[in-house]
Amino acid sequence: MTPENRAAYWKANVRLLVILLFIWFVVSYGFGIILVEPLNSIMLGGYPLGFWFAQQGSIYVFLVLIFVYASSMNRLDKKYDVHE
């Protein structure tokens, strides 16, 4: 593996991390804490939306994030030919 290739693989990895961690931050700290009051004026069924993000929604999004990360990384590994 050339050093350029290695650097490109790492850069793609870090870009993916930044995007996923941005979403991680927004759904928990953003929707669940910072913006909870305005979001609570919207109802999701019987849930105020901010409350739902804090106690349910953020957890579901966390799950999606990890599986998206795992499958994207598998693709990235193959693309750069570093898979096991």
């Binding site: 593996m1 290695r6 693989y9 790492w10 990895n13 991390l17 996923l20 961690l21 991680w24 928990s28 700290y29 669940g32 804490i33 910072i34 909870v36 009051e37 609570n40 999701l44 069924g45 019987g46 849930y47 105020p48 409350f51 739902w52 804090a54 106690q55 349910q56 953020s58 957890i59 579901y60 966390f62 799950l63 994030l65 990890i66 599986f67 990360y69 795992a70 990384m73 598998n74 590994d77 570093v82 898979h83 096991e84």
Partner: protein, 606 residues
């Protein structure tokens, strides 16, 4: 023996026989099997075991009770103890698996080319793990003594014996398979009562949907959360869906501290060394979170429904009540007519009633709220008579409050024990590997044989059980603060150096050591300042005259301070790194190698 006792003995006995049977069947014979289960564990199985490892008595017994009485404020536990898995999966797990060693201090020692760094990491690890395990031992003792009707001490000895048998014999291989069985027991024990209660209260069997559903007794006129908000505010309590824990800033720091503490707790991190490949480590964190999320998304429903049932049992709302009737819209119930669970829990001292106005009725409201207190006057109420309602009883009492059958109640007991035992075993393994592998083999006796190392691991595990058991017998004021400091310590010491070790090629030995020491010191000082030096009562040293009163640092509570400690760790590491020599060439190559999955072979210890 009552019907409930028979069910409890039968279910607890059967599950324990199962755990011990599995431990004997999967006995470890090599250090590889002992520490990391020979790296042959499938990601789904590993995820399930990680979930059991992770969810302790605190998750199983305490959390829903905290949610019941803290409402929205308790969201910090829900987000904090799940969001940490995102950090683990994205920032640590695959790289540490690629690195291919047995323990967290081993990574730190190699990455920072320093035995001193390794020893500092071992100390942080042991401090965090042992404080955590004392809480589990205490939980085991309480659960045994309460339900097998023995003394607390005897309950604790029984628990220590059982932990010793399967943790010492089985090592990681035994623990992993036992934990899968424990996960199944604890998740059934948690969800079955929740499904029953959700059906009764909302007509929907899925608690996650039921919590957002309609309150069945109101014939669909109100949502469950709307009803709960209305009932608790009329009784003078804070509105359930909006009550804040401290301040929003405190909640932010609290959540962050629990998240990075999760990603820095060694007994969770080593789970990702047990899978065959780097890509498996990524998926394994996801699977662990799937199994954890089943409990964590059920917990808010358990909490809210328990609060609803509990309040409704004590204070019946009158048919004629309107939104303006306030306290007068409730009818306190006569003590003599209350169900048996009320009196059972009274005998434990965790629930206490005092008939202040001598009318034989139970008045339950918030008398610290001036508006409500004013409404109580004309009714002849002399204050809140529920002088003690301990959060921790809610999960155990919940099935009784909802009048579920005896076998469901017995199952909850078995679930609580499974949660406490599995976590205790995982922590003990982390402690024993830190001592035998990192201290003995890594630093003091490099020539030790595999067999001797394995035995040293077992001896140190027994030693750890005795220490934790002793401290559990005579807890030196350890309580809720114990769990908080375990997370704070992990967050402020281990997580930052692991992350910098992978993402910053130029982070060096001096920076890492300075970071760990300053992070852990700042956190310890703030916690000790509030809760006493090593939690010994009377040694608190808050200094209001110097502007250091309760939660003096921007209103952040000591439980949430790990986030600040971690920040200090990062900053100290950056500053020290800037003025010291860069790491040697081969270390920078090592970091580059860790970043690429190919070539992850069997883990080797050295």
């Amino acid at each position: 023996m009552s019907n409930l006792d028979i069910w409890t003995y039968a279910i607890v006995g059967t599950t324990f026989a199962l755990y011990i049977g599995i431990a004997i069947w999967a006995r470890a014979s090599t250090t590889g099997e002992f520490y990391v289960a020979g790296k042959g564990v499938h990601p789904v199985a590993n995820g399930m075991a990680t979930a059991a490892d992770w969810m302790s008595a605190a998750s199983f017994i305490s959390m829903a009770g905290m949610i019941a009485f803290e409402g929205y404020g308790a969201s910090v536990f829900l987000m904090g103890w799940t969001g940490g898995y995102v950090l683990l999966a994205l920032l640590l797990a695959p790289y540490l698996r690629k690195f291919g060693k047995f323990t967290v201090p081993e990574f730190i020692g190699d990455r920072y080319y320093s035995k001193a760094a390794r020893i500092v990491a071992v100390i942080c690890l042991i401090l965090a793990s042992i404080t955590y395990v004392i809480g589990q031992m205490k939980g085991i003792g309480v659960a045994f003594s309460r339900f097998l009707e023995t003394s607390y001490d005897l309950g604790l000895y029984i628990g220590m014996g059982i932990v010793a048998v399967y943790a010492v014999l089985g090592g990681m291989k035994g623990i992993t398979y036992t934990q899968i069985a424990q996960y199944v027991v604890l998740i059934l024990a948690y969800t079955i009562p929740a499904i029953f209660i959700s059906l009764i209260l909302t007509g929907n069997p899925v608690p996650q949907i039921g919590l957002g559903g309609h309150y069945a007794p109101s014939d669909g006129a109100m949502t469950l959360l709307g009803k709960l908000d209305q009932v608790v505010t009329e009784l003078g309590f804070k509105q359930y869906t909006t009550q804040v824990m401290g301040s929003y800033l405190n909640m932010f720091a609290y959540t962050l501290s629990l998240m990075i503490g999760t990603a820095g707790l060694p007994h969770v991190i080593i789970r990702f060394f047990t899978v065959p490949k780097v890509s498996d480590a990524r998926y394994s964190a996801g699977w662990a979170l799937v199994f954890i999320a089943i409990l964590y998304t059920t917990a808010p429903a358990v909490g809210a429904m328990a609060r609803m049932n509990f309040t409704d049992t004590l204070m019946k709302q009158k048919e004629t009540a309107t939104e303006q009737s306030g306290l007068a819209g409730f009818e306190p119930q006569p003590y003599d007519s209350l169900p048996a669970w009320f009196k059972n829990w009274q005998t434990t001292g965790l629930l206490a009633w005092e008939d202040k106005n001598h009318d034989g009725l139970v008045q339950y409201y918030d008398d610290t709220n001036p508006e409500t207190a004013a409404q109580a006057e004309p009714l002849g109420w002399k204050g809140n008579e529920m002088v003690k309602v301990d959060n921790d009883i809610m999960v155990l009492a919940n099935p009784e409050i909802a009048r579920l059958p005896a076998w469901v109640i017995a199952l909850v007991v078995a679930g609580g024990l499974a949660a406490a035992l599995s976590t205790a075993a995982g922590l003990l393994l982390a402690i024993s590997s830190a001592i035998s592998h990192d201290l003995l083999k890594g630093v003091f006796m490099p020539g030790i044989s595999e067999k001797a190392e394995l035995n040293a691991g077992r001896v140190s595990m027994i030693f750890a059980i005795l220490v934790a058991g002793y401290l559990g017998l005579h807890p030196p004021g350890f309580a809720a603060g114990t769990v908080a400091i375990a997370f704070g310590l992990a967050a402020s010491s281990i997580f930052p150096v692991l992350m910098m070790g992978i993402f910053m090629k130029k982070m060096n030995r001096a920076g890492a050591i300075a970071g760990m020491l300053s992070g852990i010191t700042v956190t310890l000082l703030y916690v000790f300042q509030h809760k006493g030096i090593f939690f010994i009562p009377g040694t608190e040293f808050l200094m209001p005259q110097w502007g250091m009163g309760e939660n003096w640092f921007f209103g952040i509570s000591p439980n949430a301070f790990g986030a600040v400690g971690a920040l200090v760790n990062f900053i100290a590491a950056f500053i020290v790194r800037a003025v010291t020599a860069a790491p040697p060439e081969h270390i920078q190559h090592l970091v580059e190698d860790v970043r690429v999955p190919r070539g992850a072979g069997e883990a080797v210890g050295h």
